[in-house]
Symmetry: C2
Subunit: 148 residues, 2 copies
């Protein structure tokens, strides 16, 4: 039991460090592209999860709908996102990327992936594969825990 707490502590530290470094990198690599980190994450989510309603987007991003509404606003102003009415529900909106939104996302995504590739270029492939599995497992565990 005390062993499992030690493990928890070490994992907490390690994940924290990883998060800091990634956040810092994101600030560097995203913000020079006309969008902020949060805006970029919204773009990413819309790319991955297809057209979404506002509340659904907020859920995916773990944010309040009001916060999300404002992030989307900024993307609308910059013409990276399109807001269409849902024909089946006059209250709801369908959010999707414009072509220039797609293009921007593509560009940023590619930059970030290249950077990630450089970061792991000296790490053995098996090591990366292992980390992948485990990080996903941890994410699932955390998500389950929060959902409860």
């Amino acid at each position: 039991m005390s062993h499992s707490l030690e493990r928890a502590e070490e994992l907490y530290e390690a994940v924290n460090q990883l998060i800091r470094v990634h956040q810092f990198r994101d600030r560097d690599y995203i913000c020079c592209h006309d969008v902020t980190v949060a805006q970029c994450y919204a773009l990413e989510t819309l790319v991955k999860r297809g057209p979404l309603r506002l509340q659904a987007l907020a859920d995916e991003m773990y944010l309040d709908k009001s916060t999300t509404s404002r992030v989307v606003d900024s993307l609308l102003r910059k013409k990276y996102v399109l807001k269409a009415l849902d024909p089946s529900d006059q209250r709801a909106v369908q959010l999707s990327l414009t072509p220039s939104g797609e293009a921007l996302h593509q560009k940023i995504h590619q930059d970030l992936i290249s950077e990630e590739a450089l970061m792991i270029k000296n790490v053995a492939p098996e090591v990366v594969d292992g980390a992948l599995t485990l990080i996903r497992q941890l994410t699932t565990a955390a998500r389950d825990r929060l959902g409860s």
Copy 2:
């Protein structure tokens, strides 16, 4: 080469998800304790890296010194941090925790560790140990990359 890019892409996704979930959890578990996430991170850094100058603290946190100065201000107002002059340099300050800062940090830290323990209670110990090594390796790789 294309393989390594795929790996980079998957890793990027996986880490991103992990970051979201952890951020969400932090908002929940830290902010009910009289400090924000950033303030808590400053406390943690001061605990781990001992008394620090402002610029050193900013470096550890990957933040600008002005941002850090304000985070520290809020902690000074709440009496969780102590600011002492550096005798060897009248410009510099030595930042450290007050007893109540120590106590608060201890409490939050324990909460977070317990939560982390619950998250991994269904993950095999070897798996956690593996993740730990790999996450650290990735952090180091990322840090080296940014430092350059």
